[in-house]
């Protein structure tokens, strides 16, 4: 396990083109700092977020995933952010069944005017993930990581 003092979480953030990406942009132009741990991926809408994107992020080494979109009622595509909300809730349950800490998946609404809020949410999420420690899903679940285990020998001993 990595030492938590040196552990820098890898976080994938999905942003929507119309609100949350612009919030991130505003944070940038207003010189509001937020940690570089988050790698933002811009989608046209949070409703475009295929749960497979999240699963792939986790399978490839992300320690946490942040999904962002327009506030309820303010979606550029009328109501796709509600779809994102429902997918998020079902995804969180499914991942919990696979043993993932629910806190590693976060949903944040941010309008284009909320650069400060966006930066604040990223800051707090990075600290939450730092506290949880590295996930290591990617490395551990790779087929090449399979090493035969003398389990029966251990258990019977």
């Amino acid at each position: 396990m990595d030492n938590n003092d040196t552990f820098e979480p890898v976080i994938i953030g999905f942003t929507c083109n119309w609100c949350s990406y612009r919030a991130a942009d505003l944070a940038g132009t207003s010189r509001t700092k937020y940690p570089a741990n988050i790698r933002l991926i811009r989608l046209m809408c949070s409703g475009r977020l295929d749960p497979a994107f999240v699963f792939k992020a986790l399978a490839n080494g992300a320690d946490g995933v942040m999904i962002t979109g327009c506030h309820p009622g303010e979606c550029h595509y009328i109501e796709q952010n509600y779809k994102a909300l429902r997918r998020f809730q079902l995804m969180r349950r499914t991942l919990q069944g696979l043993g993932l800490e629910p806190a590693r998946l976060k949903l944040v609404w941010a309008s284009a005017a909320e650069g400060t809020k966006f930066a604040h949410e990223v800051n707090s999420f990075v600290e939450e993930i730092r506290a949880l420690g590295p996930l290591h899903w990617g490395k551990s679940a790779q087929p090449s990581a399979a090493v035969a285990e003398p389990v029966l020998e251990e258990v019977a001993a």
Partner: protein, 332 residues
């Protein structure tokens, strides 16, 4: 053995239940065509054969091997690699070999839990804590129980696979069709599909084959099939039954939905689906008729085990491949 001009056929089971072998036998008289056209050289369920006989065969000398079962232990892996070497065409046969299937659900537990569950639970009467000997001396030498891997892997996570034939088990009419095709190829009347293809399947999803009527789906609650009187004509998902049809590959003629039971996904992900569970999460979440987080949560309570619902057949072959507890021993 006299020289036999017939092409050679093999079938093997790794971590599986044996249902695939029964499905092969369920092709009835067609099995005689298999015998007429092939020399069956290795098929532990149906005939006596020793691993050393297989080892002695020339590399690439078996034309067609149907491999069912996932790779759970060293023996499974050894046979997968051996059969890959000896076979021209290796088919991942059945859901276990293609995507892990039910044995793959053990990827939600670590191997120690699996062994203790098998030999030492409330339902197992084992007061003296007797476990199998891991090695035993016989006059011919010492024999060992193969070691278990921390996770079950699909066949193509271990060796290169030429074709995939999903299903739990593959439908017998599909098996018969594939055997027909191979025989036609042997007679020069047909060509093999491109390597890596799914064979013995339909081209779309179970929904496309399903005869039930479909409208715009809006679901206020999820139900189990025994909770309601099921409308025989209407789409099950529309009735709130969590049916996995939208993400599942066609090929079974929508057997379960036709019989009034939800599709549980045994034919695996449809063409183009990256992650079966993710596709279903997307589909189910999209039809929920609520925008209120608390109400959505209440509706989702109707799917008590989402991981089992979405990954019953596909966990080992999914993007995440296993539950965290399969490898994260410190947390267990």
């Amino acid at each position: 053995m006299t020289a036999n001009a017939k092409p050679k056929f093999a079938m093997y089971w790794a971590a599986s239940c044996g249902g695939c072998e029964i499905a092969v036998l369920n092709i009835h008289e067609k099995i005689l065509e298999v015998d007429a056209n092939f020399d069956v050289v290795f098929w532990p369920v149906a005939m006596d054969a020793k691993y050393k006989d297989l080892e002695a065969m020339q590399d690439g000398s078996i034309l067609l091997t149907l491999f069912n079962g996932g790779i759970r232990n060293e023996e499974n892996e050894h046979l997968a690699k051996l059969l890959r070497k000896k076979s021209k065409i290796l088919v991942a046969f059945g859901s276990c070999a293609c995507e892990g299937c039910i044995p793959g659900l053990a990827n939600l537990s670590n191997s120690r839990e699996i062994v203790t569950t098998a030999f030492n639970t409330i339902s197992t009467d084992n007061p003296q804590q007797i476990y199998p000997l891991t090695s035993y001396a016989v006059p011919e030498g010492e024999i060992h129980i193969p070691k278990i891997y921390p996770r079950l892997r699909t066949l193509d996570q271990v060796v290169e696979v030429d074709y995939y034939m999903p299903g739990c088990p593959p439908e017998s009419h599909q098996i018969a069709a594939v055997i027909d095709l191979v025989i036609q190829v042997l007679q020069g009347k047909a060509e093999l599909p491109p390597k890596g293809s799914y064979i013995g399947v339909g081209g779309s999803t179970v929904c496309d084959e399903c005869k039930r009527t479909r409208h715009l789906k809006t679901v206020k609650s999820f139900k189990r099939i025994w909770d309601i009187e099921i409308d025989p004509e209407l789409c099950l998902l529309e009735q709130g039954i969590p049916c996995n049809g939208p993400a599942t590959r066609s090929g079974c003629n929508a057997r379960c939905p036709s019989a009034g039971a939800q599709c549980i996904g045994c034919y695996g992900p449809a063409e183009g689906v990256i992650d079966y569970g993710a596709r279903l999460v997307s589909a189910f979440a999209s039809i929920i008729d609520s925008n209120d987080p608390e109400e959505i949560d209440r509706i989702l309570d109707g799917i008590p085990d989402p991981t089992g619902q979405f990954y019953r057949f596909n966990l080992a072959g999914s993007l995440l491949k296993a539950g965290k507890s399969a490898w994260d021993k410190e947390k267990v």
